[in-house]
Symmetry: C2
């Protein structure tokens, strides 16, 4: 505690640097703020690309989880929405009449909840197992609901999806015999391609040939897929290079984030969502502590070349300043690469590594035009939609 005594006198006694205009003084921090101009530009760019290449855009709403933003995606021509959870689909049925549940509907409760979605929703489910077909068919029969099914292929991501085409064809046949399910096509997720946009060629070529081979085998089996559903934000601008893809499902593109910029799938100034934070301590020399920690930013690594040593986000106005460490409610700004020295009370905007997680951590997102807060919306589809029933007070002894 002794050695740094003189160097830290500044903490309490130094003349503060001139204050910068306080960012969004009407907002408490930490809080996610969306730049509405950038949001609109991101929405328009994707819609234009889809139109130009005659691709159906079916955005994944996991990124924003807000019916209000889903409605903007649909108004710009999206053919429907993609969801991962039953709760997301329930909430989005307020604004959409065509939903793909891109997640295996395993388990009786999950399958029943999916089959019980409002009737106006044209429903498609992607899956990869006989168990999922059985669970979904049972639930669909109970309510006499037609559900379209995509067979999920593993084309290199190695997460879900069948890696063997013959198994996928067998599953498609099983679906055809499981009315009211209906075989609708195939789905895949190229999430393994997330290096720099300039370095994707080799993996894209492998993906192209795997997909072409799978499609021709489905054709030969008399199961020509009407829909071929793929796409992710890192590869979205090259979707048209893939054979016979009919729709793509990017999520992150609506906001973008530090990882998307790092790999070159957007520019830095396309990052629409930042976490507004306040410097709450500069007591420890060489760093500044903000009130956005792992409960506001998530502990997500930077994708792309930078990697795990590149912190958990960086400042919009000072991209060289990264959040090098976090506790639950503390973010530690590394000041070693900047001459900037913030004062306690100063506000900053953090561009997060992975924006989907940030939204999931929050209940409300604010929208601003320049430096003016214009609106806010609830993250209505976060959580699971479970209800708590407290039971009796005696249950904890």
């Amino acid at each position: 505690m002794e050695e740094s005594e003189s160097s830290t006198k500044r903490v309490l006694f130094a003349t503060p640097t001139p204050p910068v205009p306080e960012l969004f003084p009407e907002l408490e921090t930490p809080v996610p703020v969306v730049d509405l101009d950038r949001l609109e530009r991101n929405l328009d760019r994707a819609a234009r690309y889809a139109t130009e290449h005659q691709l159906a855009l079916r955005p994944h709403i996991k990124t924003h989880k807000a019916p209000r933003l889903a409605a903007e995606q649909l108004r710009r021509g999206a053919v429907g929405l993609t969801c991962a959870t039953p709760h997301e689909a329930e909430v989005m049925s307020e604004v959409a009449d065509d939903i793909l549940l891109a997640y295996p509907p395993v388990g009786a409760l999950r399958a029943r909840r999916i089959a019980a979605l409002p009737e106006h929703v044209r429903l498609t489910v992607a899956l990869d197992s006989a168990t999922a077909v059985d669970d979904l068919a049972t639930a669909a029969r109970a309510v006499e609901r037609e559900i379209q099914v995509y067979v999920e292929l593993d084309l290199g991501m190695h997460r879900v999806g069948l890696p063997v085409v013959d198994d996928a064809i067998t599953l498609a046949r099983k679906i055809r015999e499981a009315a009211p399910l209906r075989f609708g096509g195939i789905a895949f997720y190229p999430g393994h391609i997330r290096e720099s946009v300039d370095s994707q060629d080799a993996k894209l070529e492998t993906l192209r040939s795997s997909l072409a081979e799978a499609l021709s085998r489905f054709d030969r089996a008399g199961l020509t897929p009407r829909a071929v559903s793929g796409g992710s934000t890192p590869t979205m601008w090259r979707t048209h290079e893939l054979p016979r893809v009919t729709e793509f499902r990017p999520g992150t593109y609506i906001f973008n984030d530090r990882s998307t910029a790092e790999i070159g799938a957007c520019e830095w100034n396309d990052c629409a969502l930042t976490v507004l934070a306040t410097v709450v301590s500069t007591a420890v020399p060489g760093q500044a502590v903000i009130d956005a920690g792992s409960k506001a930013l998530g502990r997500e690594p930077l994708r792309g070349a930078g990697g795990a040593d590149e912190g958990f986000g960086s400042l919009l106005e000072h991209p060289e300043v990264v959040v090098k460490g976090m506790s639950e409610e503390h973010g530690l700004l590394d000041l070693s690469r900047t001459a900037w020295r913030p004062a306690v009370g100063e506000r900053v905007r953090v561009v997060p590594n992975h924006v989907c997680i940030v939204v999931h951590l929050n209940d409300v997102v604010f929208g601003a035009r320049g430096l003016a807060v214009e609106t806010s919306w609830p993250v209505a589809a976060r959580g699971r939609g479970y209800t708590a029933s407290l039971g009796t007070a005696a249950t904890i002894a």
Copy 2:
């Protein structure tokens, strides 16, 4: 896609292993479930330790964020609660009349919200800067509320807290002159001591001597601290070894987690909270995919010897099976160290690396006695308590 064709035939056609009894069939997954027997044991053990050593237990509620559980801590003798955010303090004021806000109250909005807490709450705030004193004093004066203040010292954590004792004394004097604030003592957080319990001696000795030196300088300055507030779960059982500590503020101990067990501050069977999950895919050979990913488990490293390569959690019944990778809604179980082979639809319980983050990701937690679900409670203090006002529909063009 071709080379693994034969080895993956089992996915669709192999004879399934006999099913295990389905865990908690009435619950949807993923969902956090607390073993109530273990919870009670954890609560009782901490209360007993506090009594034995005449220490005031002031648990940090960031871990559970539930008034119901805070009430159980108070009923067992806790002198009050510790909170990090204004929202946590607001929610906890339903059950507590003594709250420490262990977070710098920087910013007019935050300070005002703190000063506006219900009047029955005896309020203490820990801080480390002149700005925080000014912000809090202004807010306290506006509502004529007495607030006790702890000066936060950095005793090795290097996060917040003043590393230089003379600066801390200067700040304490400033507080004494800032009525209705009142200097109440000092606070520190030994969060840098999180190695194995057996290897803490050297760091604890340094902490002891830094603390003793700081205390004697406060004494000589005529500022003898009435309260000395420290403690964290990894060091909690050794709090009585620290000089003149009056209260300790562990959080995690109520549930414990994989990291707490790894460092030896609890046993594996003291882990009270698990995430119930369903195996949703075994399509890709060598792994099983569960429906608990980063949005259910958080991407938190294992503390202690294991470190970053040890995944994001492991199975309660198969601790050798770790969640080796995650997407937002997918957890990838590494089956390389087990003979166990789960079927699609099977349920598992994941002990998370860091339980506080898991609770923060959820709105509801269920409580079970053995295999019977008995109760559930809302995570009422999660989020920030911000309200969304949608503004006009025209704000997005």
